[in-house]
Symmetry: D2
Subunit: 342 residues, 4 copies
């Protein structure tokens, strides 16, 4: 089988994760996230993000995390503000709308929402009761374009949101890649202090499955477990996610894995750039989008699996993802193959 750069969840799980699960043996635990593994994992996360009063909930997947959190936070007429490239708008099969809420979109820049974007949504709606009431800003960190927000950018958004009674929610499916990006000057504690809620992605960073929802704003904490249950997100064996996050956050495994995939992407980008190719967006994390002439892209498709991202006249921007499991040798081979084709 040819190697896939399609995504960062093509490999099962880091061995430590499976070992940690196996180490539990037949030791019994409480159901539905009330177990000691989940409790320990939550404490480790709270410590890492320096938010001892945050609420931590474990859930199996990211789309699910988004829809449970957002539908819990909003009244029926309240809406979400997102970039058009935001995962919830295009790639979650209408999950947010299925819970009853409209998503108000703006183009954004490099996959990032700006204060001006958010402001223009508010201006357009302006409290008119014939329209929805924008109430929650959704952004992805890192973004669907592989980019990250700086502290200044995110801080400006938070400041604007608080002034305008908007919640700020961050989809952190690739939060590790963001925080460990050299383009990002934020720590986990910065995210926790700037967002009302976010999730820390496990699925895309070496876990077998699972994400950790973090609710910082007390207003959003109330009764969340009811919502988690009602939407089908409260697993009987939530402990199986708790064990994984305990493993990821008891040492530096979570960051180590994110750093590795970032490093592999940088190496890949450097090799591609060295051959004279450009990128659609700044190269900042483990998702990079080089632009190749169509014939090069076609030939690469015979050698590797990856998705086309956007079509231009005679060029194609392609999306390449590295993961915690991507080896240096496969990166080198890709660059060598590209050099041979160029």
């Amino acid at each position: 089988m040819i190697h896939s750069f399609k995504n960062d969840y093509s490999e099962m799980a880091h061995p430590n994760i499976l070992n940690a699960l196996a180490a539990v043996g037949n030791k019994q635990f409480e159901g539905y996230g009330l177990d000691e593994h989940s409790a320990t994992a939550a404490l480790l996360i709270q410590k890492k993000i320096k938010a001892p009063y945050s609420d931590i909930h474990f859930i199996a997947g990211g789309t699910h995390a988004n829809l449970v959190l957002i539908s819990s936070a909003l009244r029926p007429h309240e809406a979400v503000i997102a970039a058009k490239s935001g995962h919830i708008y295009m790639h979650e099969a209408g999950a947010i709308e299925a819970t009853g809420h409209k998503i108000c979109i703006r183009d954004g820049q490099n996959g990032k929402l700006t204060v001006a974007d958010i402001e223009s949504v508010l201006d357009e709606h302006n409290g008119d009761e014939h329209m929805v009431k924008p109430k929650l800003v959704y952004l992805s960190l890192s973004t669907e374009c592989g980019t990250v927000y700086t502290r200044a950018e995110l801080g400006a958004i938070t400041y604007f949101c608080r002034k305008n009674s908007l919640y700020l929610y961050i989809d952190g499916a690739r939060l590790g890649n963001a925080v460990n990006s050299s383009a990002c000057d934020m720590k986990y504690s910065d995210i926790a202090s700037l967002a009302d809620a976010f999730f820390i992605g496990g699925t895309k960073n070496g876990a077998l499955f699972g994400e950790a929802i973090v609710i910082c704003n007390e207003e959003l904490q109330n009764d969340f477990r009811f919502l988690l249950k009602q939407r089908g997100g409260m697993l009987a064996k939530t402990a199986a996610i708790g064990v994984q996050f305990k493993e990821l956050f008891s040492g530096d495994l979570y960051d180590k894995l994110a750093k590795h995939s970032n490093t592999m992407a940088m190496k890949l980008a450097k090799g591609i750039a060295g051959l004279g190719y450009e990128f659609l967006y700044p190269v900042e994390t483990n998702l990079i989008i080089p632009i190749f002439p169509d014939e090069i892209a076609e030939k690469l498709h015979e050698l590797y699996a990856f998705y086309d991202f956007q079509k231009f006249d005679d060029k194609t921007a392609v999306r390449l993802l590295t993961s915690w499991a991507t080896s240096e040798s496969i990166v080198e081979r890709f660059v060598a193959d590209l050099a041979a084709l160029s």
Copy 2:
């Protein structure tokens, strides 16, 4: 920690399951259930249930399976018929109603819905457009009372449903315990031929997590993956569930584990009955509900963890569950402790 008879998902996973996951190593797979592990698991299940044209979908949990399937099958005004003891009615936090559908309830008998129950719901509604339109019958096998349907009972329900254009959906969180019960004269293939859809529970029978939704009726198959995605149920690493079901169904592991928990429950029940205690419902699977004088129940609570099920004047019916991991010695100890208290 005292031993828990609270439920059958108190232990992580059968070692074979974890070994199977580890055996994948870093071999890449496709995302969202389009991988070869899930495909192989689906084929094995189709073979086991003798339903080669059924659709198989993997999802993390049972409440989630129920809500995705039911909301996919119904138009907005259509409703579910269920026993009052049905899991979706009382213990899923309004998950079905949250997708917009009413549940019409009847008392049932021993946790089982009868044709007369279903008929009385139809009679009450009778096509009146000021009421909902009952369209799907939900039942659990084995039930929340630990009982099973016989082939005659289920067949009668199926016959009635087909005559009245009702779908029959079975919550099979404990399907293995049902099929392997001596009180049940059905095989998996009987279930598949009698139900329009059902799910085969992994979480409560030795898997780390995961359920296999089986859609037999072609009418219900269309576009199901859209629904799965929209409700947050399509995991990026669905392969992790596929691997587990491959392990459970490539040999007889699924049945072996279910038989073990049933056997442990029968042994437990026999010991309890031997001491002169009665049961609230027929003892048929791994969930049994003996009735103890209050003072006995209270003392048992100091020695073991379990839930009270129902209160009577000076007696308490308590719910005891055994699992694939329950040892013979703990069962014997319980009986001995009970004998000492009696």
Copy 3:
């Protein structure tokens, strides 16, 4: 056509209503309830109910009023407590569930919910996050059985609700009949001080169409017009409802019409009782349910239109409604016809 005692909305509208609408002529007004007719009507209602800080919203129908108010008041996991005979549970086609909320039912007495009923729902749920969270008590005044609550009964419910953080919402489709019943010792101002929200029915009391939603509890007032619009309930010509309520409440028309239908029902009941027949529930408003031998009921069906309410062995309880337009002569004729059949 034979006379119908089926309901109290079989006649178009009291002449004053239509005259008031015609009197507006082509004088322009603002759209969506921001007109002066609606404002004046709201002030008249606030004065009548002695609740100057209540919010008044006009909507076309009762089912719609119920679903907009309830879905506005609740978070997704919160549920309604109602009597099994409550209109929202059986006769609104699952309208509440369609907005995502479960209705927890109790049998009630004579169509009335008791504090014990409500308490038993809370006891059953008890904060368990695997179940819904009961949050709003729904009751009808007068009830679907024609009965009314006394001030003591309603006061006890309000007291219990406030102690347990439950909202109390009253379906007042027949509020005029209740307040003007000799069995009811409450004024409109009592209702307004005991309920968090209610609606005053116009459709069943002489209006062409329309109900006035009254929101007393400030917590429930916020952004209500967004909800009204979103659910399709904010008519462009809300002024047409405003004009009607102005007419109904500028003098005593609303009470006069309700009194008339009550009086006709009492006269009818007295005549029926005089012939030796009994009633299923206390006779208190314009909806009465006498019990006739089957053969009498059948013969009456040839002479008058009405609904059977409940079947007994060889008897049938039938539902008879009088309206603001019911004449004394038709009542007398019914009694005479019944006497002839008896």
Copy 4:
């Protein structure tokens, strides 16, 4: 009070409408649209639109008509395609999303959706189960920009929809203005043969309130009354709408009123154009959008009530609507006032 050109529902109702309602007197009728007035009105409409097998349902308002029809037609993952200017996208407070469905938007031209727009939505989605499945095309006739589709334009859309299994639904809040526009070469029967469903607006064309939903496609007819009830749209006194539509369609009143408002708008537009002003969109119905220098627009606001539609550098496009009740003299006065200001 200054004259309002804000909308076409600023006056109560044409006298014939109120007379027809009054003429019913106290004659009883069946509830919930099963009355003879509604039946007669439905037959008259079926005859007018030459669609004897269509289903006709009466409902109080347009937003409500849209949400009931659309939510009835779609499965949870199915979505709507609309122009960005479409009423359901921006001015119904998220009503469609509140029923669970996403609206996929395109810019359109002059408020009209093109086949290319629809095709581009399909191309973007392309059956990908991570996105919604576009299933219903929504368009307004006349549009929110006052424009109309030609038979060729609408026919092309219908042809494309049928080829691609899309439903075509038309918001006909101003259908009379469209059909009676000289720019529109369609009759009601053309609309009925090209759309799967549409509604005929009463509120904006002289009725007191009410719209007639027409369902042509048999697939969409099933069980519609359940949906109507469930969403709160089935009025007890639907007869009150039936009487109005009987009046509007027993002769030519509906067309006469629409023609009048169109004629007044054309006269107004001609006067404005004669003074050298341009229009944002083609002038085709009773909604016109001239562009004035800001200072003229400001002075006009002192003399007349109307909405600003769009801001340009030093100009403002303003929205002017005429109605069935607009007098020739007020139109002449507006033009004279504008001339004086120019």
